[in-house]
């Protein structure tokens, strides 16, 4: 214990430990961005080759839902930041509430996503070879381009991987929220909340790129 903070023996002081942990988190975020980067590159290449397929695919997405989800996530970023801020100014209860709202926002996002997915499943819109043109025709949306499945391959992979990150983020935030309720954090020590906060912001940021690419770019 140095200065009221548990410090591992290979660190000099809390500040040293804090700076190291934070650098670790940021490096991990670099890897997350690079991983999604592969998907973005694939999307851009195929969008360039098949603009008309991607336009048709985008026409099946409801931008209202995407827009609401964007707002939900941006708001959750604010509450996430407040979860740190309230700990910094010694209001742990407020911090707990902020974190709870953040998890709730994540849940709202996932519920909306669920409705979007199930609606598409209902229309017979699946990724790649699983897309069902007969079903689509029955539902009054005949498929225009043979490789429409490719667009939805990207759609499901990108939003699916992002959704998985949202779920993981919700789990992690719940974990620090419980630790916060137990009183493990203080104005001197809140590194886990901040680290998970950085993760959450990056997940939000990725959505902010996914939304226009998938829903708006025709």
């Amino acid at each position: 214990m140095i200065n009221g903070v548990e410090v591992a023996s290979h660190f000099r002081d809390p500040a040293h430990q804090y700076a190291s942990n934070k650098e670790g988190i940021w490096l991990f975020m670099v890897t997350e961005i690079l991983m999604f980067g592969g998907l973005f590159v694939g999307y851009i290449i195929n969008h360039t080759i098949y603009p008309e397929v991607f336009a048709e695919g985008a026409s099946y997405l409801d931008w209202h839902m995407g827009f609401v989800n964007t707002l939900v996530l941006i708001f959750s970023s604010l509450t996430m930041a407040l979860g740190i801020y309230f700990n910094q100014i010694s209001k742990p209860k407020w911090a707990t509430w902020s974190l709870a709202i953040t998890v709730l926002c994540g849940a709202i996002f996932m519920v909306i996503k669920y409705f979007e997915y199930t609606h598409k499943f209902h229309l017979g819109i699946f990724p790649g070879r699983m897309i069902n043109p007969e079903r689509m025709a029955e539902e009054g949306h005949p498929m225009q381009h043979a490789n429409l499945g490719l667009y939805f391959g990207f759609y499901y992979c990108m939003t699916g991987l992002h959704g998985l990150h949202v779920l993981i983020g919700m789990g992690l935030i719940t974990w620090v929220m419980i630790r916060n309720i137990k009183g493990e954090f203080s104005p001197k020590y809140y590194t886990p909340i901040e680290g998970i906060g950085i993760f959450w912001h990056i997940v939000d940021l990725i959505w902010i790129f996914l939304f226009p690419l998938l829903y708006l770019v025709g």
């Binding site: 290979h10 980067g37 694939g42 499901y156």
Partner: protein, 533 residues
């Protein structure tokens, strides 16, 4: 055990079980050591099997066809490649020697995230276990590159293997991340970046590559998994996707991965050459920067794996030039090592022999790399044994020689015991000569047009293939001598003094083997790492 109180990281926590829960970077290094050596044995046996099959054409009596059929050959080939790349050479130096010596060389008590370090080992073992498990499920036959569209269609356990590689990649990322933060944040007082030993510089450059390149492999393998499970179509030409995109993604990781394999080896060579020449390393700064230079350039050369994939001519020309550019920082290293040897008091101990062997073999591997970078030549050599010989000269002649040299060099520090230099030198003779006997003929075979990955060949290739197979036995004998040396050293080696080689770097200033906290007093650094004379 060398230490005044007899306490060291080996015996400070009692019981076998304590090794699997220990957060100490040295113990985790030993865990990796045991695991990687086991995988090396398996991968090596696969290699011997391949060479045995190629001893004679299939039509030859008795020795003709050893393996059941071409499928079996493809499987052995795949496991040899996948095991050696993902489970031996990539984790080999960083996770074993890097884990053990990076904190010691910069005067730290541990890596920045000890718990993450142990978790990385477990993650690695889960991935490795899954990879080995595919062997008992349905053996995969795609080659270690998992090229689409074949990997989408083949009825073998590709998903399991690909998930295994993804998991091992995660372990690699976390190890790299750990090392970067360790170097940035945990250097002892006075240990500036440019007082760091060159092995640490190399591990640091490697860590940057691990963090920046591996995520792209991650998404590629994830998409391949999705492709097989749900047919998302991104790499499937039948659905409008592009199998060449897979190659781009794959090599965007896997070319830097080649440097993940060779950079740490170069770091070891820097340590060995200067220690056994008893001379300050020539061009310290240039060697340090060239590691970063190689790491940077390595991201822009992936297209040289795809000269015949139908990529545009302009791309081909650019990739060709940038590939040749890698030769510059590499040559800087080579010439600095040679200049270090010049007028040094050279001691021909086993580690030095491995270092000199590295210089010789890596020069051949590197120069043939430049030859392959010439697009016009590559079209002829592509997918022939010339390529096989080239990368084995770099990966085995380079990395494996360095690993062996590094093990012997640091053996006294790791285990507190001396090894027998004579048997180690015998092992070197067999490995060095055996290696050349195995792989030099493959350059000629490649130039004669023998394609790689086939389990049979026309009679014209027979003599050289026979020579090559005999060479593989010599390598095996060499490694058996190596194993004997290590086991003998562990069981009945003499007690090692703290600094048997008169080395100047920090890890030699503490006990052999070090205590749990590495140094009795926190070191304060006042000079560079190689102040010999």
């Amino acid at each position: 055990m060398g230490h005044s109180s007899g306490k060291s990281y080996i015996n400070e926590e009692p019981g076998l079980l304590s090794w699997f829960t220990s957060l100490d970077h040295k113990r985790i290094a030993i865990l990796y050591f045991v695991a990687v050596m086991t995988f090396f044995l398996i991968g090596g046996i696969m290699a011997l099997l391949l060479r045995l099959e190629l001893f004679a054409p299939n039509t030859a009596p008795n020795v003709g066809q050893i393996l059941k059929n071409g499928d079996a050959y493809n499987q052995v080939l795949t496991y040899h490649g996948a095991i050696m790349v993902f489970m031996v050479i990539i984790p080999g130096i960083p996770a074993i020697l890097g884990n053990f010596f990076l904190p010691l060389q910069i005067g730290a008590k541990d890596v920045a995230f000890p718990r993450l370090n142990l978790a990385s080992w477990y993650i690695f073992m889960i991935g490795a276990g899954l990879a080995v498990a595919t062997f008992f499920n349905s053996k995969i036959d795609t080659g270690w590159t998992f090229y689409t569209p074949y990997s989408i269609r083949t009825g073998t356990s590709v998903v399991m293997m690909v998930v295994a590689a993804f998991i091992m990649g995660m372990s690699s990322i976390l190890t790299g991340l750990n090392f970067i933060v360790t170097v940035h944040k945990l250097r002892a007082p006075g240990m500036t970046m440019f007082r760091m030993p060159l092995f640490t510089w190399a591990i640091y450059s490697t860590a940057i590559l691990q963090v920046l390149a591996t995520p792209v492999l991650g998404i590629t393998l994830l998409l391949l998994t999705m492709e097989r499970l749900f047919g998302v179509g991104i790499f499937d030409p039948k659905l409008g996707g592009d199998p060449v995109l897979f190659q781009h993604f794959f090599w965007f990781y896997s070319h830097p991965a080649v440097y993940i394999m060779i950079l740490p080896a170069m770091g070891i060579i820097s340590e060995l050459i200067t220690t056994y020449s008893k001379k300050t390393i020539f061009g310290y700064t240039a060697i340090a920067y060239s590691s970063i230079g190689i790491a940077a350039v390595s991201f822009f050369v992936w297209g040289h794996h795809m000269f015949v994939s139908g990529q545009s001519e302009l791309a081909g020309v650019l990739f060709s030039f940038i590939t040749m550019l890698v030769g510059v920082p590499t040559a800087i290293k080579m010439f600095n090592w040679l200049a270090t040897l010049y007028k040094g008091s050279i001691e021909f101990r086993a580690p030095m022999l491995f270092a000199l062997g590295f210089l010789f073999l890596f020069a051949i591997g590197g120069v043939t790399g430049i030859i392959l970078a010439v697009t016009a030549v590559d079209v002829h050599f592509h997918d022939t044994y010339f390529v096989v010989a080239h990368f084995h000269y770099v990966m085995v002649g380079g990395t494996l020689m360095a690993i062996m040299g590094g093990f012997y060099h640091w053996f006294p520090k790791m285990f507190g015991k001396m090894y027998n230099d004579t048997t180690a030198r015998i092992s070197w003779v067999f490995i060095f000569i055996g290696f050349n006997v195995t792989f030099f003929p493959q350059f000629i075979l490649g130039a004669m047009g023998m394609p790689r990955r086939y389990f049979d060949y026309i009679p014209e290739y027979e003599t050289l293939n026979k020579i090559s197979t005999v060479g593989s036995w010599m390598i095996a004998i060499g490694f058996l001598f190596g194993l004997y040396t290590i086991i003998r050293g562990l069981t009945s080696g003499e007690k090692a003094p703290p600094n048997p080689w008169g080395s100047k770097t920090l890890e030699w200033q503490t006990e052999s083997p070090p205590t749990m906290h590495n140094f009795d007093h926190d070191p304060i650094v006042t000079a560079g790492p190689y102040e010999y004379k």
